[in-house]
Point group: C2
DNA sequence: CATAATACCTTGACTGTCATAGTAGTATGT
DNA sequence: ACATACTACTATGACAGTCAAGGTATTATG
């Protein structure tokens, strides 16, 4: 049996976290990662590769769209934008998360 | 993108749920499953196969042990018993779960 | 001029979950 | 007597999300 990693615990919530960042405004991949890492205060990890597969998944599903920034200097950036159905998915996922907490807490408490 | 199933949300918590049942006393596979399903009130699912792979994993890791019941009638039952390190794992997993809730709630709220 | 940082991306391995299938005994209704 | 449902356990193969490892290219820094 492996040591528990944050992966086990955050699994299935990556998309939700990404959407919750994008609902506040367009952002690009690298920055989103840095943002999350900072807010996790080293308690959990979330790898770059994991996020890129999340972006891909979300875009394929039509929950986000992307466009290249017009940086004249610095590396080019790919910005992501949440769509209407992305907002709806976020709402739903947050709801599911609340339900999950209720149910799991009840299962574990007594 | 697939429809979210309970699997995504409970993933990584199955072992914890199993341990939390066994800490209350020995029990056998089929009954553990029925127990969980009942307490989920149809809101979530947790498949028999998933539990059996959890039993296997936990036993391989030394967190539970098993023995055959001495049923004289009815199907034979394999009982599971939590070990000391199983109790410790449960304590740890519950702690992790609390931490996860704190962190994820903070990430999602604002 | 080497090193670090920014910024993107791909591939393959690993793990937990589940659909599906199977074995075998017991209880129930007709 | 016979079919059906339930109890009880198990194995196999597919699938999806995560990550380790590696890569490309540009810009900033000492």
């Amino acid at each position: 049996m492996e040591v528990r990693t944050s992966a086990d615990l955050f699994r299935g919530h990556t998309d939700t976290v990404v959407l919750s960042i994008l609902v506040k405004g367009d952002n690009y991949g690298y920055e989103i990662h840095r943002d999350i890492i900072e807010r996790l205060h080293g308690k959990y990890e979330l790898k770059e590769a994991t996020l890129y597969s999340s972006y891909k998944r979300l875009e394929a599903g039509g929950y986000i769209t992307s466009y290249w920034g017009d940086e004249t200097l610095g590396s080019r950036r790919k910005y992501y934008s949440i769509t209407e159905s992305g907002v709806e998915l976020l709402r739903q996922n947050k709801n599911d998360w609340k339900q999950t907490q209720l149910v799991l807490n009840k299962l574990l408490e007594d």
